[in-house]
């Protein structure tokens, strides 16, 4: 029993979150596990840890206790020492771990990781933080997963990743496929599956990730039965696939938002009125129809529609109102200065977004021009702030505050920040320090500020849309975006 899954690219790093592209994340999620992880409702659950950690009264020391009898794919036991070694690796600046920043910032700063016993490990913080566990569970950081010692020490790095997940890698052929088999010694949790948490059981013997960069090829492969699951389809194919017998298309709302970033500190978009005009000029409903075949929710709020705070906090956004846009343009004194929309063709959705936004902007008299780069170039422009507006999506998080954290702040610190309003930054800091139950008013405040400043365009909350063959059982799209291939079987 073998499950064949399309994967958009090579696994570019053996290290968890060594890079953050989807081609790397999708297989890694099957292989690696962290101390803690997400439940579907956005709360943190233990994974390798037996339970959530105990926190010292001063809030500086978090102590995790590992579950018993855990082993890595290479047969070595999972011990507190493994956790220490892994984290020393992550925190060592020389290793350039992508997520090191999250644990070495003003918000969270880990100053030490120590093994208390073979199963107990303690994390020491520089100052108390409410978000340590949230950051640790981040999906884009691959749950800060624990690796076998051979992965992090010694010069001779193994050629295959060694984690603790329900599947282990047996072969990697760059450009072709990654083969995983059931990890026989996997010790599942007893709770039922919830998000990435709970019971994981490998129901297939083998998973083959077939590397297919081209959506048209993925589509063809699925139709021909050469693959079983295409976990994030190109939405242009959604309609045709949905009407194909033997193939199921399903969709789940995720906390991701479709956005365009504005350069607010130089160029034409310094003008607040112009930014608002742009926000009023686009028809979000039309974009959702045309770009996602309806697999998204039109929204102008920075709070994703999937969030529990959406209904209460995300009021008073931007509607489609060309008249208002025109009025705002006049107010802004706009005289046809060119507005560049930077986008790329590596991700068709981003390109098409650019085309549509350009169409709407031109329709209200804004001299919008598309600048199409390759993604790496665009990325560099994003990092240096060299653009007027740019199609740009953020890696989603169950905690919207973590996303705000990424784009809010001073450009002097980091040129890629968008929302430079100090008040916004203050609110975000406060948000990250506030328990979930009390966050609602802060979100509402942020949203209000956002509508005034309009530092970006949000046009929809995304969904993850998968297509798979009918013989796949137990698989579904879910808000966590990355496909969960445990508890999935093929007929």
């Amino acid at each position: 029993r073998e499950l064949r899954v399309a994967n958009v690219g090579d696994m570019r790093s053996m290290i968890p979150a060594g890079t953050t592209d989807p081609g790397t994340q999708v297989p890694q999620v099957q292989i690696y596990e962290g101390l803690v992880t997400w439940r579907e409702d956005g709360s943190v659950a233990p994974m390798l840890a037996a339970d959530l950690p105990t926190v010292s009264p001063d809030g500086l020391v978090y102590t995790f206790k590992l579950r018993d009898g855990l082993t890595f794919h290479d047969g070595t036991p999972v011990t507190a020492q493994s956790v220490v070694k892994t984290w020393e690796y992550y925190l060592n600046p020389k290793n350039n771990w992508v997520c090191r920043n999250y644990f070495n910032s003003d918000t969270v700063k880990i100053v030490g990781v120590e093994a208390k016993s073979t199963t107990e490990v303690a994390f020491r913080l520089a100052k108390p933080s409410k978000v340590l566990l949230t950051q640790m569970a981040r999906t884009d950081c691959q749950e800060s997963a624990i690796m076998a010692e051979s992965m992090v020490s010694g010069d001779q790095k193994p050629s295959l990743p060694i984690g603790t997940g329900p599947f282990k890698v047996v072969s990697i052929r760059p450009g072709q496929d990654i083969t995983l088999v059931k990890f026989e010694n996997y010790k599942a949790r007893s709770e039922k599956m919830d998000g990435f948490a709970g019971r994981k059981e490998a129901l297939v013997d083998k998973i083959v990730f077939v590397i297919i960069p081209d959506p048209a090829a993925s589509n063809a492969a699925l139709l021909a039965g050469n693959i079983d699951i295409w976990s994030r389809i190109e939405l242009s194919y959604a309609k045709a696939l949905a009407s194909t017998p033997g193939i199921k298309v399903d969709s789940a709302m995720t906390p991701s938002t479709y956005t365009l970033a504005f350069q607010t500190s130089k160029g034409p978009l310094q003008s607040e009125a112009l930014r608002q005009a742009i926000n009023y000029a686009i028809d979000r409903k039309g974009m959702v129809d045309a770009l996602t075949e309806g697999h998204a929710t039109p929204s102008s709020s920075i709070i994703p529609a999937s969030s529990q705070f959406y209904a209460s906090a995300a009021k008073g956004g931007f509607d489609y109102d060309p008249g208002k846009a025109a009025a705002l343009l006049k107010q802004a004194g706009y005289k046809g200065e060119p507005v560049r929309i930077t986008t790329n063709k590596n991700y068709p959705m981003m390109f098409e977004t650019g085309v549509m936004v350009q169409g709407y902007l031109q329709a209200v008299g804004i001299n919008a021009q598309l600048e199409v780069n390759d993604f790496a170039t665009q990325f560099s422009k994003y990092n240096t702030g060299n653009y007027d507006m740019m199609t740009w999506n953020y890696n989603p998080s169950f905690v919207p505050g973590l996303v705000f954290d990424r784009f809010t702040g001073s450009k002097k610190m980091q040129a890629s920040k968008l929302w430079t309003d100090p008040e916004a930054r203050r609110l975000v800091d406060e948000l990250l320090d506030t328990p979930i139950s009390q966050q609602q008013p802060l979100y509402a405040q942020l949203q209000k500020l956002y509508v005034k400043d309009a530092p970006m365009i949000v046009w929809a909350t995304g969904e993850v849309t998968s297509a798979y063959r009918n013989n796949v059982q137990g698989y579904a799209s879910w808000p966590g975006r990355l496909p969960r291939l445990w508890n999935v079987s093929v007929k």
């Binding site: 690219g9 090579d10 570019r12 790093s13 053996m14 060594g18 890079t19 953050t20 592209d21 600046p93 020389k94 350039n96 992508v98 997520c99 090191r100 920043n101 999250y102 884009d140 790095k157 050629s159 990697i172 052929r173 760059p174 450009g175 072709q176 496929d177 077939v210 590397i211 297919i212 960069p213 081209d214 048209a216 090829a217 993925s218 063809a220 492969a221 139709l223 021909a224 039965g225 050469n226 693959i227 590596n346 780069n373 390759d374 993604f375 790496a376 170039t377 665009q378 990325f379 560099s380 422009k381 994003y382 990092n383 953020y394 890696n395 990424r406 980091q414 040129a415 890629s416």
Partner: protein, 314 residues
């Protein structure tokens, strides 16, 4: 001849060197670098800078180039930044696949083109000629991604005769390997056969007027023998130049076909490496392509005298 080969290979050194330097400068002049890409959207400038230093990208370009060249001279193409493999073995595997597809496809295309071109020239301005020219023109008008996809839809999905994705190399399972190559090869054949046919036709038209063709007819040879035994070798020489050019272009340009058919070939490797700014891989690939290109030219030059013995190797 051995002297000629050696001279040509030595003469190619400037080309290869120039390609290497240009690639080196060009790829680094394009915005975006591997550190940024590796670290992703959330990275802060300091860690990007640190990563750059680790990759040696902070050194002045000439120093970087000399370091790289020094390693290459020792047979070390470096390590891919993103793929967990040494560049040399990566490039070599990919080259084998791409080269075999290109050679098979261009070989078939050449055979078809020469036959069709000869036939068209023989039928000059008659129905057969018009048919060949029209078909060849249609082949020229369609992009490879479109033809490839159509073939996939028809033979992979509608009839289900051939697998749509994946690849099995000849060394793994020769009996299945060909299945994965049929469609990509067919796509390339369709795309390339047009221009080759027209080239072959043009030179065949000239050749068919020559006196020795009349003489061959005077011997009582059938038109088939006249065309294929007497006209072909002479008409083939100019087409050979084009064949060399096509192979050269495809070496770097086969990415589209490899992407459509998800083959792990050199073209895709380059494109992906360029997008990922995987400098060592890009440089390695280009080095190999430049050398391969030089070899292709050499082979073409060595083949010339076979088709036209008057041409002397110089």
């Amino acid at each position: 001849m051995i002297g000629f080969v050696i001279k040509r290979i030595l003469g190619a050194i400037p080309t290869v060197l120039l390609v290497s330097i240009t690639v080196f400068l060009l790829i680094r002049s394009i915005p975006g670098d591997p550190a940024e890409i590796m670290l992703g959207e959330a990275a802060d400038p300091a860690s990007i800078a640190a990563f750059r230093a680790e990759l040696g990208l902070d050194k002045p370009l000439p120093v970087q180039f000399v370091l790289w060249a020094k390693h290459v001279l020792h047979g070390d193409l470096g390590q891919s930044i993103f793929l967990n493999q040494p560049v040399a073995s990566l490039v070599w595997q990919r080259l084998l696949l791409s080269a075999s597809i290109i050679l098979i496809a261009v070989g078939i295309a050449t055979v078809i083109a020469v036959a069709a071109g000869l036939f068209a020239a023989w039928q000059q301005d008659k129905l057969g000629d018009i048919a060949v020219v029209t078909v060849a023109t249609f082949g020229l008008s369609l992009p490879s991604f479109w033809i490839g996809l159509l073939l996939l839809l028809v033979f992979g999905i509608k009839f289900g005769w051939l697998p749509v994705v994946g690849y099995v190399s000849f060394s793994d399972d020769p009996s299945r390997a060909w299945q994965y190559l049929v469609l990509p090869v067919a796509t390339l054949v369709i795309v390339e056969v047009g221009v080759l046919t027209r080239m072959a036709r043009a030179s065949a038209v000239e050749v068919l007027r020559l006196e020795y063709i009349t003489h061959a007819r005077a011997k009582g040879l059938s038109e088939f023998a006249v065309l294929f035994r007497h006209a072909l070798p002479n008409a083939f020489a100019p087409t050979l130049t084009m064949v060399g050019l096509v192979i050269g272009t495809l070496l770097g340009g086969i990415a589209v076909v490899e992407t459509v058919f998800t083959l792990p070939g050199l073209g895709r490797l380059i494109v992906e490496a360029i997008y990922a700014r995987d400098y060592p891989v890009v440089q390695g690939c280009l080095l190999v392509i430049a050398i391969a290109y030089v070899l292709v030219n050499l082979v073409v030059d060595l083949l010339y005298p076979i088709f036209d013995p008057r041409i002397a190797l110089e």
